[in-house]
């Protein structure tokens, strides 16, 4: 009856134990109730916890990865939260796990980029596993706004092109206004005739 889902990467192994929720008609292959989980790291202490801790881990690591893929390292998980992740002071990524037990100091893990990618992959594999029949309240990845991006262009640089375009229109309009207007009252058909010499002033010799 007890089900174990296991996901392996080079640096970590995630095991999730649980039971099918027979009250909603789940079969023996599925996992609808998480009874425990463990995350084993190569050369680091193993993490264990309840469903709430696993959800807390996913709720900070996956959004952190979402921001990081856009090149924005942002801290997730404030002090009361059991899990916190942010860019490390000397590079890498600092994962801080606060125990719910009193008198237990928080555990700090420093992950490099490869270990973080491994962790994200095992969490992705878990949330997309069809055997996990459990609604996970995870934020959807959404596009970042301009002000959240680090390489934001300064306002003056962004406004330069439209202002230059506007200036070009104003200058062209001003030059257009400087052109002389045609004299009023002259019909268009008369203008070429006016430009020609008068009939009586012909230079051709007159016949006797």
């Amino acid at each position: 009856m007890k089900q174990v889902l296991q996901f392996d990467q080079l640096s970590c192994r995630l095991k999730v134990e649980g039971l099918p929720d027979v009250s909603v008609g789940q079969s023996g292959q599925n996992l609808g109730i998480i009874t425990g989980w463990s995350l084993a790291w190569a050369g680091r202490p193993e993490l264990e916890g309840r469903k709430e801790h696993l959800l807390a881990l996913m709720q900070v690591v996956l959004p952190y990865a979402r921001y990081l893929i856009s090149g924005v390292p942002r801290r997730f998980g404030a002090d009361p939260e059991p899990v916190e992740i942010g860019p490390g002071p000397e590079g890498g990524h600092g994962l801080l796990l606060r125990s719910s037990q009193p008198d237990t100091p928080p555990l700090q893990l420093n992950l490099d980029d490869a270990e973080l990618a491994d962790l994200v992959r095992v969490l992705d594999q878990l949330r997309l596993d069809s055997r996990l029949q459990l609604p996970l309240e995870l934020p959807e990845p959404i596009p970042l706004m301009g002000r959240e991006l680090p390489e934001r262009r300064p306002l003056a640089q962004r406004l330069a092109a439209p202002l230059a375009g506007l200036l070009a229109v104003v200058v062209a309009s001003g030059l257009g206004l400087l052109l002389p207007e045609p004299k009023p009252g002259l019909e268009p058909a008369q203008r070429p005739a006016a430009a020609q010499p008068a009939k009586g002033a012909s230079t051709s010799p007159s016949r006797p």
């Binding site: 090149g71 890498g92 490099d112 980029d113 490869a114 990618a117 992959r121 992705d124 594999q125 949330r127």
Partner: protein, 180 residues
């Protein structure tokens, strides 16, 4: 790959920066794998995208919508086409994950890491010189030793975090980021 995973018609189109990044990420996959171009075509067929990209020329044309390309195409890409390209990229990144991971791991000896990065950067720079418009500022930044190194790391990091089926939504959201 299921065809019903295509984006609906109302889905947003990738902005200019997203098109640039998508093509550069595909170029990075080619720099990691010498047969990356062929793998892309094969992957497209395997994933059932032949109705969108019937042959390699059509696939190539879609990639040429990158404004940084030497021969760029002005028409935009439909959301279904960009989604298909992102899925191909995620599958390629998944296939290349051991190589990508090897570049990012600090457990490797520094000489080995340095050698790997040099090889990747030189291949990427060769591809960029062949295919991109070298007068564009973005391309010059990629070829610059300092900013190019940082850009290369961001590209590899994006491939690592976007690898596999789980990376699709994350990578897609990232490519839809607002213009900086």
């Amino acid at each position: 790959m299921p065809l019903d995973s295509f984006a609906p018609a109302s889905a947003p189109r990738l902005p200019r920066r997203g098109l640039e990044r998508l093509d550069l990420l595909l170029l990075s996959a080619e720099a990691l794998d010498l047969n990356g171009g062929e793998a892309m075509v094969w992957m497209s067929e395997q994933m059932g995208f032949t109705n969108l990209f019937p042959n390699r020329v059509e696939l190539w044309k879609r990639r040429c919508t990158n404004p940084l390309r030497r021969n760029t195409r002005r028409e935009g890409l439909e959301p279904a086409e960009t989604d298909a390209l992102i899925r191909i990229l995620c599958a390629l990144a998944d296939r290349l994950y051991p190589l990508v991971r090897g570049l990012l791991s600090s457990a490797e000896p520094s000489e080995v890491l340095s050698e790997r990065w040099n090889l990747f950067r030189s291949r990427l720079a060769d591809l960029v010189r062949q295919r991109m418009n070298l007068r564009r500022g973005g391309v010059q930044l990629l070829l610059d030793p300092e900013s190019g190194a940082r850009q290369s790391r961001l590209l590899i990091q994006a491939l690592a975090l976007g690898a596999g089926v789980g990376g699709f939504e994350r990578l897609r959201a990232s490519l839809l980021d607002a213009q900086p």
